[in-house]
Amino acid sequence: MLDVFFFYAFAALVLGGALLTVTLRNTVHCAISLIASLSGVAGIFLLQKAEFLFAVQIIVYVGGVMVLFLFVIMLVNLDTAARDRQFNRQWIAAVACVLAIGAEGVYFVRSGSGAWTFAAPSEFALSAGNTEDIARMLFSEYLVPFEIASVLLLVAVVGSVLMARREA
């Protein structure tokens, strides 16, 4: 019961935040709505017993990415932009795309659970320690993606320094 309540509460937070993000005029307000939305996502993670991901979501998104966004917003001083027209002229494309995805969603809702067949639960159930589960699999089976992720970070370091830094 509590579960249901929390789900709808977090879902409202997620969707409300998201809607405000894409509609608000002031970019700083958009960023703050985004934080709300992402926090809601973190709550959703928690409901699904993904505690580790919950922590990551808070640390990385709310603590990291959003700060970055705010820095950039201040760096490029978006106030002038906020006074202008807010939406571009791609309405038709947007409506078509949204309708297509929406129709798909309606189709699945109407056809009910029959349309969905989920993968059968695996033989071993998740243990209580979410982080241990992740760690065991990450550092054995997902060894290569993990190591290669460091290259991804390096690319990001070189790329952002190269792009943002002004050569002396």
């Binding site: 509590l2 640390i59 970055l68 943002a164």
Partner: protein, 152 residues
């Protein structure tokens, strides 16, 4: 034994709610009960605070962005480190080498940043953005101004 995540974290929620209520109550009480005086001295920095110069909206140095960016990149490194630490004992030496390789590459990135001088704040901010819309006008706050404001 709680069965769902929501029940597990119910105490946490109660605590969070409590914190919010207390904080909100304190702020709103002082707002409701306190005496309101509005003059420019009230808007001045308190005691030894620095007198603000310029517009609050004036541009940040790109250095803030760079440092922020570095922070979250190493943040990612940290989130990989955390589960590793949890199972470190099981992984033994293999786990050590695994993480060593990972960290080595990230440290190479750090070295690069260091040598590039991104962390060097001492120079006269060569990486500041040039202001496209003309310089923001800097206003000086003279002591007389403050005195005049106080008299009002």
């Amino acid at each position: 034994m709680p069965t769902t995540a929501a029940e597990t974290y119910f105490p946490v929620l109660v605590q969070a709610l409590l914190a919010i209520v207390i904080a909100a109550a304190l702020v709103s009480l002082s707002f409701l009960l306190g005496r309101k005086v509005k003059n420019s001295v009230k808007d001045m920095p308190y005691e030894c605070g620095i007198v603000p110069t310029g517009d609050a909206r004036h541009r940040f140095s790109v250095k803030f962005y760079l440092v922020g960016m570095l922070f979250i990149l190493f943040d990612i490194e940290a989130i990989f480190l955390y589960p590793w630490a949890v199972v470190y004992k099981e992984l033994k030496m293999f786990g050590f080498f695994e993480m060593f390789t990972f960290i080595l590459l990230v440290v190479a990135g750090f070295f690069y940043i260091w040598k590039k001088g991104v962390l060097d704040w001492s120079h006269n901010d060569p990486s500041a953005l040039r202001s496209p819309a003309g310089r923001v006008e800097m206003r000086d706050h003279h002591p007389e101004e403050i005195l005049v404001a106080m008299k009002r």
